[in-house]
């Protein structure tokens, strides 16, 4: 690229998609209205655990406006337990008991919310009325809610054919923890409880299915994050070829992980009913359903210990934890493996011994939600270091600094296996400058004085700092097709879905630089399997890394085609040409230029012979698969003020310093961080799924399940360092989850500091916290 060409990559460019979104012109699943459309509602179990004796839909069928009602028995051979999405990684001695859900419960119910029947009616109102007509008989069994009780002998079994409620058991080791502990100057052991909540996207899930009998074509509009996977899966279960099924994930109002899960019952039932009735059918999940019908992320209990030398250097960490997987485990081990791996953080931990047991409970299914188990692990290591700092009388920032992996140690092999089946290896990183930047930005050096002065005025300030790494950008691959159109616009298609990430802009930036057009001249299509039919999906902070590099590869090939064609046109050397403003120009000869639109037409001639081996058009389809995940990292720091009587708190300052390699668009990156921190704050201090002993969710509404609002999320100061990834040509690392991961330990640390809890012997070893919970912990301690 010559220096005269524009560089959109890295620039804070406003989003191409915002005009559409802000003026209500973006298509969401619920916007679809098709003539003859019917509407679905599902009857869900009101009991967490029980033998399903009967489901009688006859009265519902008799209601005016009801077209059909189906139970598991009506599905015939279509009734099958669903697929395993992610098989367990190749870890020695792994135990994994696969139990996936079917789309309607048949013999047993295993969580409140599990679908029992589907009603198809002329309106959603009628469909909901008809749900009350269905007679259900369930013989109730004891609910399985508590993780430890679930593993005791005699506990009720979620899956009767297993002899216990163990979903999985995995031990990963590096080095010899016992030997490390034997020579340690200090060992700290604690029990930690960390609960993550539900992702609460602004748009709940939804499915519209249309079976076209004449064309033999099934079209499904779905809020999925992985349209290509879903298309492949649907083709398989319906016995259709992949080209007979089109899945469209249009604009989707937030994904955060749970929308990757498949099959959700509705993703099978709605298309199935459409093929039976030969009419389009819509199902839109309402917020009440969302609380139980979309997957959660929930709790883990860690018994962890850390062995240190007298200077606070980590000699080893041992962790044994329980993980709540819910009633079924279709997503394999991804969440607990992430917890296990991410605990290691940016630190040198010479000996690591980590064992987890994933436990079946009679609660909704657990699958990844932004962070995907990383929070749990980061909480454990960051809290252990805080306690160590206190006991060894070392400053909390200093103990972290002493243990950072040095910059010359990369690639850094942690010698355990990650969720993508590859060894957990950090591709690149430079951690100390991030910590230094964060300490400077938060005013760490002067804080003790500030704190003392505030206290003299009756104000209780607290400070906190937390490190984390984030495995991002895993394989297998993504692809993209780039084409210069005859009207001069450039179209890009990729298989990943979009849920607000800014794909329409960042991919356009990459392409605009390569082919020399305006960012606004690039039209990006995502998530339509008829427009691009290969790929995996949008998850694990991989869209920009994997699809972004595929887009770059395809754009590079198109650039070469443009240069070659233009060189022929001008009868000059390619080196004499430069691209920009939608045209190709001979360097230094103003006026000697040709529009991209003209070249696109030339590349698709109407007459004459074409040389063998030539493809028409200025088009290319390319794929990119990274050899391993890229590891981003960062530090969050926060100052809070706590009301010492009411235990309410206010965030006074929030700093994020982050390294996600090369930055494509700082505005979009900032948005990712802001949103992640907001969800992290919710996780740390507001959101808690409250189940009673019978497995009933007690706070299934947004009035009771508290999401932080704009008033609860502070302005943030964002800073970056750049350590490019060597694993992809653009040097990108993912950023989708960075904001959300370390907020829990930050709250625990800051509250302890503000109220001087450590000196009172009170430690905060759990998340979420709240004023009410702090009151309990403090009064219990006396």
């Amino acid at each position: 690229m010559s220096s005269r060409e524009t560089r959109n990559f890295g620039a804070p460019i406003r989003r191409n998609e915002d005009r559409k979104l802000l003026t209500g012109k973006a298509l969401f699943v619920d916007d679809l209205e098709i003539p003859g459309m019917l509407y679905a509602a599902l009857l869900r179990s009101s009991v967490a655990h029980g033998e399903l004796i009967s489901v009688d839909v006859s009265a519902a069928l008799a209601r005016e406006g009801v077209v059909a009602a189906y139970t598991a028995h009506d599905l015939g051979d279509f009734w099958q337990p669903g697929p395993l999405l992610v098989p367990p990684p190749p870890i020695e001695g792994v135990i994994f008991n696969l139990r996936t859900h079917a789309c309607l419960a048949k013999d047993k119910v295993r969580y409140v919310g599990e679908p029992l029947a589907i009603v198809i009616a002329e309106s959603r109102y009628i469909a909901e009325d008809a749900l009350a007509d269905i007679a259900v008989e369930i013989e109730q069994l004891p609910a399985v809610v508590d993780l430890e009780a679930a593993l005791k002998p005699g506990a009720a079994l979620v899956h009767d054919d297993l002899r216990s409620n163990v979903s999985a058991h995995v031990r990963q080791k590096n080095g010899d923890y016992a030997a490390a502990a034997a020579k340690a100057a200090h060992i700290i052991k604690r029990r930690f409880a960390y609960e993550h909540g539900i992702s609460s996207p602004m748009e709940t899930r939804g499915v519209v299915a249309q079976w076209d009998e004449r064309a033999g074509q099934l079209t499904v509009w779905d809020t999925t994050q992985a349209p290509v996977f879903l298309r492949n899966g649907l083709a398989a279960v319906f016995g259709l070829s992949e080209r007979q099924v089109r899945v469209v994930a249009p604009f989707v109002g937030g994904g955060f992980g749970p929308k990757i899960m498949m099959f959700y019952p509705e993703e099978l039932l709605v298309p199935w009913a459409s093929t039976r009735l030969n009419r389009p059918i819509k199902w839109i999940e309402d917020r009440l359903e969302h609380f139980v019908a979309t997957t959660h992320e929930r709790g883990q209990i860690h018994d962890a210990q850390i062995a240190l030398d007298a200077e606070g250097r980590i000699l080893g960490v041992k962790d044994v934890f329980l993980h709540d997987t819910g009633a079924y485990d279709p997503y394999g081990l991804t969440v607990p493996i992430n917890s296990q791996c991410t605990l290691l953080g940016p630190y040198v931990i010479p000996a690591y011994d980590s064992t987890f047991t994933a436990v079946f409970t009679t609660l909704p299914i657990v699958t990844p939600y932004r962070g995907a188990g990383r929070q749990h692990g980061v909480f454990v290591i960051e809290r252990l270091l805080d306690i160590a700092a206190h006991e060894l009388k070392i400053d909390p920032a200093e103990i972290r600094r002493r243990n950072l992996i040095p910059p010359d140690a990369f690639p850094y092999d942690n010698k355990i296996i990650y969720q993508d089946f590859a060894p957990l290896s950090y591709d690149s990183g430079n951690y100390e400058p991030i910590l230094n930047k964060a300490l400077d930005a938060i005013g760490y050096a002067g804080f003790k004085d500030e704190q003392k002065k505030a206290l003299s005025e009756g104000k209780h300030l607290g400070i906190a700092i937390a490190n984390y790494v984030e495995g991002t950008g895993i394989g297998p691959y993504e692809g993209a097709r780039v084409q210069v159109q005859a009207n001069g616009r450039v179209s890009v298609a990729t298989g990943i879905g979009t849920q607000g990430q800014g794909h329409f802009t960042v991919f356009a930036q990459i392409v605009a630089d390569q082919v020399g057009c305006l960012v606004t001249d690039v039209d990006v299509v995502t998530g339509d399997t008829d427009r691009f039919h290969w790929g995996a999906g949008t998850f694990a902070s991989r869209g920009a890394v994997v699809a972004g590099n595929a887009v770059n590869e395809a754009a590079l090939v198109v650039r070469q085609k443009i240069l070659k064609l233009a060189a022929d046109h001008f009868e000059c050397a390619e080196e004499d040409l430069e691209l920009g403003n939608g045209e190709v120009q001979i360097v230094g000869v103003p006026g000697r230029s040709v529009r991209l639109s003209e070249l696109a037409m030339k590349a698709n001639p109407m007459r004459g012979a074409v040389k063998p081996g030539t493809e028409p058009g200025l088009e290319s389809t390319q794929y990119f698969g990274p050899p391993g995940g890229a590891t981003a990292s960062g530090v969050h720091a926060m100052i809070i003020e706590v009301d010492p009587e009411l235990l309410t708190l206010e965030i006074k300052k929030y700093v994020v310093v982050h390294d996600c390699g090369t930055v494509i668009n700082p505005l979009i990156l900032a948005g990712q961080i802001h949103g992640g921190v907001a969800q992290g704050i919710g996780n740390a201090f507001y959101e808690k799924l409250l189940f009673d002993d019978a497995g009933q969710l007690l706070n299934a509404s947004l009035a009771d399940y508290l999401l932080p609002t704009s008033l609860d999320v502070p302005r943030m100061q964002l800073e970056h360092t750049v350590t490019p990834s060597p694993l992809n040509p653009l040097g990108i690392k993912g950023a989708g989850e960075a904001g959300a991961i370390p907020v829990g330990p930050l709250f625990a640390q800051a509250i302890e500091d503000a109220l001087g809890l450590k000196a009172k012997g009170i430690e905060l070893l759990e998340i979420p916290l709240s004023p009410g919970r702090l009151w309990q912990l403090i009064t219990q301690a006396g």
């Binding site: 109102y125 009035a703 508290l706 609002t709 004023p771 009410g772």
Partner: protein, 286 residues
């Protein structure tokens, strides 16, 4: 989250509304702002057979002051917020209003609808109790008035009969040298109160407290009136010691039910802290 089928009746006059209520009785609910009723209908927790829409009844909307302040039952929160007279004479109402949900909801929600709904965590019942308001009820056959103190029976329960409507709220003005303060703790701005307090005290010519009222929201099945605590303040200056004693009495009298954000002990504690803070502020404002 779609409501069950219901019949919709639009009332053009108060008489039409009352006639419809007389006809349908318990089966019918008045639709005022709809900010509590409609969500409960969408959850199918409420399934009234008939909704009588009283939004056209402009005669029930408005604020008048002549010795007392008369507020029509259909007066929206937003109108109260924007009313300068309320700000002058009954400033505690303005202090409490921002705690009620969010501006969008306050644009629709009505004072009469809120009091009739009688959510114990709600602010206005406690405020009206503290202000010693009188509530005017009408049916097709009769009219009656009732003190706020006798209006609330239990959670979501009032003395309104199946054929009656709350039409007007009459609020007496505070004596000279009175100070009032409303404070609340909720998890987020606009959430239901973990505990809220309305404190009103009057300073006599000799500097002692001559009149005191302390009411709470969120801590009982109805808005709670802490009689003993208020009485303990009368006859002396409102010193920190007197405040401490009143707060202790209030906490003793309270038996909060607890909720998902606060156990009973934290609720009582918050009520105690707020009692101290609100009383000190109210006294400073006398």
């Amino acid at each position: 989250m779609k409501p069950a089928p219901f019949k919709y009746v639009i009332a053009r006059t108060l008489d039409e509304a009352l006639a419809a209520k007389a006809e349908y009785g318990d089966e019918a609910r008045f639709l005022a702002g709809g900010q509590s009723l409609v969500p409960t209908m969408n959850f199918r927790m409420a399934m009234p057979a008939v909704l009588i829409d009283i939004n056209p009844l402009t005669e029930l909307s408005g604020i008048k002051a002549n010795g007392v302040t008369r507020i029509g039952a259909m007066t929206r929160y937003r109108m109260l917020e924007a009313d300068a007279g309320i700000g002058e004479r009954l400033r505690i109402i303005h202090e409490a209003l921002p705690h009620i949900a969010h501006p969008q909801i306050r644009n629709r929600g009505t004072l009469g609808g809120n009091l009739s709904h009688a959510d114990p965590a709600s602010e206005m019942p406690a405020i009206m109790l503290a202000l010693n308001a009188t509530l005017y009820l009408r049916s097709a056959k009769a009219a009656r008035q009732i003190a706020a103190r006798d209006f609330f029976v239990g959670a979501l329960e009032t003395v309104i009969a199946p054929d009656e409507m709350l039409t007007e709220i009459v609020v007496p003005h505070l004596p000279a040298n009175s100070g009032a303060c409303f404070m609340e703790v909720a998890r987020r701005q606009g959430d239901f109160a973990i505990a809220g307090i309305a404190a009103i005290v009057t300073r006599g010519a000799d500097g002692t407290c001559t009149r005191a009222r302390l009411t709470y929201c969120g801590v009982a099945q109805t808005p709670f009136y802490a009689d003993d605590a208020a009485q303990s303040l009368i006859g002396g200056p409102v010193t920190p010691a007197a405040i401490k004693q009143a707060a202790a009495l209030a906490m003793e009298a309270l038996d909060p039910p607890g909720n998902s954000h606060a156990d009973p002990s934290y609720q009582r504690h918050v009520a105690g802290v707020l009692t101290r803070r609100a009383l000190a502020t109210a006294w400073a404002r006398t």
